[in-house]
Amino acid sequence: MSLAQVVYNISTDNEFASQWNLDPESALADKGFQLSREEQAFLTTGLKNGRSGDRRTMRLSELASVRRSWM
């Protein structure tokens, strides 16, 4: 659940998102969230790759097309 909560807060709370960008550890501590180092790495991957080539947030349908190319 923690990973989901942190993703949700980054996506819906600009202040938390800015704080996360500057200092993830203190952003988590201020909200009382706990993420393992691994989870932080997975989230960093999610944030980095959840954007399209033009840097806008990737659409669900675009992510779904990944499935088609893989399976």
Partner: protein, 321 residues
């Protein structure tokens, strides 16, 4: 898929009393060779390579796992048919006319065929010793899978934690079984066998996430209808409903209910889902399962030739995760 696996299934059908017209019906859904075959979905065949690859990777001969590959494939297809009937999906063309009774009967035939195939583990020197363990594991894991399916059917709106429990019991367990059973034929080192099981488990979870995304592909193409009833139990919706509260949650529920016949509601539902950060969440979870699959594969110290294939299964996901 090696031809010998197809022959093994045919041998069981012909040798164990199935009638010709029933064999013809079962051939329709098993996507291997054969002139009657109309199966177009190649995915199960690809994943049925897992027992052989894990057996080889663990130090055995891939051919020792032919029996497992055949049994696992038959179980996979049978479970898929049962899932379609239980979820009241649109019927496949082959059972559209005769109804779900025929689908359930063919699925039952495939379950019993798979059990007969598994019994053959006792016939060969290379597999005889491991046969009791492997057979027990197949049956135990099927009970777990049925438990997961029961919870899925009785809980139309699972929480996020419940979603992951159900996914683990169904997809994670089944793919873990393919890899664990294959590895068991190649080695008796428990730690290695467990690493292959974990590799398969995480691969299965990755496949489940991607399967849940499949219905969202229809949003991009007007030719593919979006199944909103299925979407309501998909990971993106479960995540967003769990995260949102108050007016956003109410609005999302309303839009999901209206989406089937109302394009504006459908667009609003997607906007709400995307606004919750669901894409980042899914990619983060995919990264988790991909990394853990690779980590477990490395811990198993696999033979290089088979390891390359197993690693490709999880690396070639199309995302730079």
């Amino acid at each position: 898929m090696p031809e010998r696996i197809w022959r093994l299934i045919e041998e069981v059908w012909l040798g164990e009393g199935a009638w010709p017209d029933f064999i013809k019906a079962m051939r329709l859904v098993v996507p291997l060779g054969g002139s009657d075959n109309k199966g177009s979905d190649r995915e199960p065949v690809k994943w049925a390579l897992l027992p052989g690859l894990c057996c080889q990777a663990a130090g055995g001969d891939a051919r020792w796992a032919d029996i497992l590959a055949a049994a696992w494939l038959l179980f996979y297809i049978a479970a898929d048919i049962m899932d379609s009937v239980e979820d009241q999906d649109e019927p496949d063309p082959w059972w559209q006319e005769s109804g779900p009774g025929m689908a359930i009967n063919v699925a039952s035939g495939l379950y019993f065929s798979a059990s007969q195939v598994l019994n053959r583990l006792y016939q060969y020197e290379a597999t005889r010793l491991a046969a009791p363990d492997v057979t027990k594991k197949f049956l135990n894991d099927f009970l777990v899978m049925c438990s997961g399916q029961h919870r899925d059917l009785t809980n139309p709106e699972p929480s996020l934690d419940q979603y992951w429990q159900i996914a683990a019991a169904k997809s994670g367990c089944f793919f873990g079984l393919a890899c664990q059973a294959g590895a068991r034929l190649g080695t008796d080192e428990l730690k290695k066998i467990s690493s292959y099981q974990q590799y398969g488990y995480h691969l299965g979870m990755l496949i489940q996430i991607l399967d849940d995304l499949e219905d969202f592909h229809g949003l991009q193409s007007s030719s593919t209808p979006v199944k909103w009833t299925t979407l309501k139990r998909s990971l993106p919706v479960v995540y967003a409903l769990q995260m949102y509260s108050g007016s956003n949650e109410r609005q999302l529920r309303q839009c999901l209910n209206d989406a089937s016949g109302d394009n504006k509601a459908a667009e609003e539902a997607i906007a709400l889902l995307e606004g919750s950060g669901v894409v980042v969440y899914l990619i983060s979870e995919m990264a988790r399962h991909r990394n853990q699959a690779i980590e477990n594969l490395e811990q198993a110290k696999p033979q290089p030739a088979a390891a390359e294939f197993l690693e490709t299964f999880v690396r070639d996901i199309g995302l730079p995760v």
